[in-house]
């Protein structure tokens, strides 16, 4: 090797080393974006093994709840709640469509925001999951034994049901408070048809308290409280010492009705509204307040027949702040606060300052002292305003930009999302000092720690619900699933473990140890307990009945045939109800029902249940139907025909399986 070659080799080698060093330094600075070295081990759930937590995420504008497993991030199921599901017939079948009734008529979609477990002694008990519709004020109850929506209650005298449906320590009440103030009918307001510019004079808000039956979870609107026409944003019941109180944030104490981004962002302080719900409930039950007319729908699945029914309600009890002296207070909070969270000990209340650079932390003990001293700085609509300094324990500084929500690990720390600076910030509840922070991708809205909003956080994980996805996954056109990020918070430092995309745009999530929910799951419905009025329990009971222009087809489905599978005698102008009972009694053997030309929906029928779909034929002919859920090796053979004849034909009703119709 010549001297020149040696020099050249050294030179090239040097460049190679420099490039390698650059690459490594590039990697290490990029490390937090990629994840931790052993992250894969921590989120890997081997084939056939289960996740340790269920995570229930609202879908936002999907109107549903999506269920994921943690730590794997696997999508387990989607629970249809406020949105019709034409694939399984939810909201289309005769059994489920009543769930969608409102005073406005049938509403096929919703905007879910805040899933909330039922609680016992301030701890999530996994019996029911409640969730709000922000758009048409409603609260739904999901049964966590079946992962089905069993009840939807509409709320009158309100709009923008955002601060909803948070639960009190023993699920005595759910809350709902108006985000979008509206004019109200007399006697609450001056009528509903008023100029928008008369907002300050005519627009009103209410805080609703929905009572939950402790045995079966059924909801009842117990009373409402009139509150000033601000935009109430989020709420939380107290815990432990503060459990008799409920706290709501508001923005727009400016009472703007147009260009709110400017006009509702003028004041330096907005408010936290604190209400002693326990005492208010006692007063309401003594008969205080006024019973007013209001029309709203209560939709409930009858547990015996499994058929949803609507009850139209006409009355609600409404109380005014003047009825409730000493039970309602405003606490000032920096500029347009968003989230509000009560620490697991129940001692502190923390907001997301949103347009402020601090997180204010109020002390419940200080609030009680200020109330005792009657140390107020004025009042709004008869609700006294406490002094900011008197009630504030500390302001957490250096929390990043756009703090929105807090959650708690049960070990003395809070974690806040900062939307604008796109990070999670960990702070000490007692001292108010920031101790750690971690970038998120991108712009987290809510965050959720298992049990973080209860007296007993299970901790370990933190889920950041990011609002902006951009380049985190393979692109899917202009719209993409929202991106969630899972962190390990078991140590001092936040460790990023996993990114995973989720349906819709979750606005909050609830996690619970899998063992609390998985053991009680319903695997199929017992046929002997099926009391649907159109059930067909045995094949020999299958029949087709004409009553004038109405035809009821009582059909059974079992691997791999329908009974009957040949039907004649349907005529143009008939209204046909097809009632299919899946007579299997086995786990995970649903049957589907699809009929050519069916404008309504397909159906999935779980073992032991009956589902009915309405059909008004528009064409003469023979229409095939078949099973849509691959049930068995002979699933393709699970099919049949229905003949539709002209209105004036004399074809009689005949039906059967495995024989020629005569």
């Amino acid at each position: 090797m010549s001297f020149q070659q040696q020099i050249r080799n050294i030179f090239v080698g040097g460049i190679a080393i420099a490039v390698t060093a650059f690459m490594f330094s590039g990697c290490s600075s990029n490390k937090s974006k990629i994840g931790n070295d052993n992250a894969a081990e921590q989120v890997y759930v081997p084939p056939g093994k289960h996740d340790t937590f269920y995570s229930f995420l609202s879908g936002g504008w999907t109107g549903n709840i999506s269920v994921y497993g943690l730590p794997s991030g696997r999508h387990l199921y989607t629970i249809p709640v406020f949105s019709q599901d034409p694939t399984d017939g939810y909201g289309y079948t005769e059994e489920t469509k009543a769930l969608f009734n409102t005073s406005h008529g049938f509403i096929p979609w919703g905007d879910t925001h805040h899933p909330e477990f039922s609680k016992t002694n301030g701890i999530d008990d996994g019996r029911w999951l409640f969730v709000n519709d922000n758009n048409t004020p409603r609260i739904a109850r999901v049964n966590l034994k079946t992962f089905r929506t069993d009840e939807i209650l509409e709320l009158p005298n309100t709009a923008g049901n955002h601060a909803s449906p948070f639960t009190s320590s023993n699920t005595e009440y759910l809350t709902a408070i108006t985000r979008f103030s509206i004019p109200m009918s007399k006697p609450l307001g001056n009528g509903r048809d008023v100029p928008i510019a008369s907002y300050k004079k005519n627009f009103k808000s209410t805080a609703s308290f929905v009572k939950v039956n402790p045995h079966n979870g059924e909801m009842k609107l117990d009373f409402q409280i009139m509150v000033p026409p601000f935009d109430y944003d989020l709420g939380r019941f107290g815990l432990g010492p503060s459990k008799d109180w409920v706290f709501f944030t508001d923005y727009n104490s400016e009472e703007a009705h147009t260009m709110l981004e400017i006009n509702a962002s003028q004041k330096d302080k907005d408010f936290v509204l604190a209400i002693n719900w326990k005492k208010v409930a006692e007063i309401a039950h003594e008969g205080k307040g006024q019973i007013v007319n209001a029309t709203y729908d209560h939709n409930l699945v009858d547990p015996k027949t499994d058929v949803a029914k609507t009850e139209v309600l006409h009355k609600v009890r409404v109380l005014k702040p003047s009825d409730l002296k000493g039970l309602m207070f405003f606490m000032p909070a920096p500029k347009s606060p968003h989230g509000i969270n009560v620490t697991p000990s129940g001692e502190f209340i923390a907001e997301g300052g949103k347009l402020s650079t601090v997180i204010p932390v109020q002390s419940f003990a200080k609030m009680e002292t200020a109330i005792q001293k009657n140390d107020t700085t004025g009042s709004i609509s008869g609700i006294p305003i406490l002094n900011y300094k008197d009630v504030t324990a500390h302001e957490v500084k250096n929390v990043g930009l756009g703090p929105l929500h807090n959650d708690f690990d049960g070990k003395g720390y809070a974690y806040a999302t900062a939307f604008i600076s796109s990070e999670i910030v960990k702070w000490n509840i007692k001292t108010g000092k920031v101790v750690d922070r971690h970038a998120t991708y991108y712009s987290p809205g809510h965050l959720s720690i298992p049990g973080g909003d209860s007296r007993k956080p299970w901790g370990h994980y933190l889920l950041a619900l990011n609002k902006i996805t951009k380049d985190r996954y393979l692109p899917t056109g202009p719209e993409m699933f929202a991106g969630e990020q899972l962190f390990d918070i078991s140590g001092n430092k936040l460790k990023l473990l996993l990114d995973f995309p989720v349906e819709g745009e979750p606005h909050y999530a609830q996690e619970i140890p899998a063992s609390i929910i998985d053991t009680g799951q319903v695997k199929y419905f017992k046929l002997e307990d099926n009391h649907n009025p159109y059930v067909t329990r045995k094949e020999k009971d299958a029949k087709v009945v004409r009553n004038g222009h109405r035809v009821d087809i009582y059909m059974t489905a079992i691997r791999s045939h329908f009974m009957p599978d040949n039907i004649e005698g349907i005529k143009m102008g008939d209204t046909v109800y097809i009632h299919v009972t899946n007579i299997e009694q086995e786990w995970d053997i649903p049957h589907g029902f699809a009929l050519m030309g069916m404008r309504n929906a397909g159906m999935l029928i779980m073992p032991g249940e009956t589902r009915s779909v309405k059909w008004e034929p528009r064409q003469v002919g023979v229409f095939p139907f078949y099973c849509t859920d691959f049930c068995s090796a002979l699933h393709q053979e699970m099919q049949g025909y229905i003949r539709v004849s002209p209105a004036n034909s004399n074809v009689k009703i005949v039906y059967g399986t495995n024989k020629d119709l005569k």
Binding site: Q585, W587, L634
Partner: protein, 197 residues
């Protein structure tokens, strides 16, 4: 018969009643899509699902290969067998009360005969169940029959069938062993062979 032997025969007779408390036989079925398992408990007077609704599921699956549905209330043996067990019990108690060796021999012979007949009948039922197939069945595998094993494990298409005697049958077996032991002892320890003290 010695006092000890009469007590033993009483115990053996009472043990027969275990068949009214525990199943005789258990057939367990495993298949890839049934991780939770399927099974049947065969009682002296009934055939029951091991897990809820297993009989219906097994009948659902078996109709594809043309096997007859299991309908416990049309199986005649299940109606007769309880009376035979009660007969054996009453005879056993009578034997122990009277204490005559001839009675013991009669009881034991009947017992052996009935146990043998029971097993043969069970085998025949299984044979018929596995071989007597509907000629119009959807799935026909040439040369294949589906007789479950009397004892042990057998692979039948996708299903692995395991058949084992359960507590009821084990109690009968033990009662038979006790009976045999007493009979043996009585025969060889009889006064013919020893001096009466």
């Amino acid at each position: 018969m010695t006092k000890k032997h009469r007590i033993l025969i009483t115990i053996a007779s009472v043990m027969l009643l275990a068949v009214f408390v525990f199943p005789l036989w258990q057939i367990r079925l495993q298949a890839p899509q049934y991780p939770e398992g399927l099974g049947l408990n065969i009682w002296i007077n009934n055939v029951q699902s091991l897990h809820p609704h297993n009989i219906q599921t097994i009948n659902d699956l078996n109709h594809y290969i043309g096997m007859k549905a299991i309908t416990p209330n049309v199986i005649p043996e299940l109606k007769i067998m309880p009376y035979l067990i009660i007969l054996l019990f009453v005879m056993g108690i009578t034997t122990s009360l009277i204490g005559k060796r001839s009675l013991l021999m009669g009881w034991l012979m009947l017992f052996v005969g009935m146990a043998g007949a029971g097993l043969v009948d069970f085998y025949k039922w299984e044979y018929n169940y596995g071989h007597n197939l509907n000629p119009n069945a959807a799935i026909k595998v040439p040369g294949m029959s589906y007789q479950p094993p009397l004892l042990g494990t057998k692979q039948l298409l996708n299903i692995r069938a395991t058949s084992i005697p359960y507590i009821g049958a084990l109690a009968i077996g033990l009662a038979l062993v006790i009976g045999g032991y007493v009979f043996y002892k009585e025969k060889y320890n009889s006064p013919k062979y020893r001096v009466v003290s």
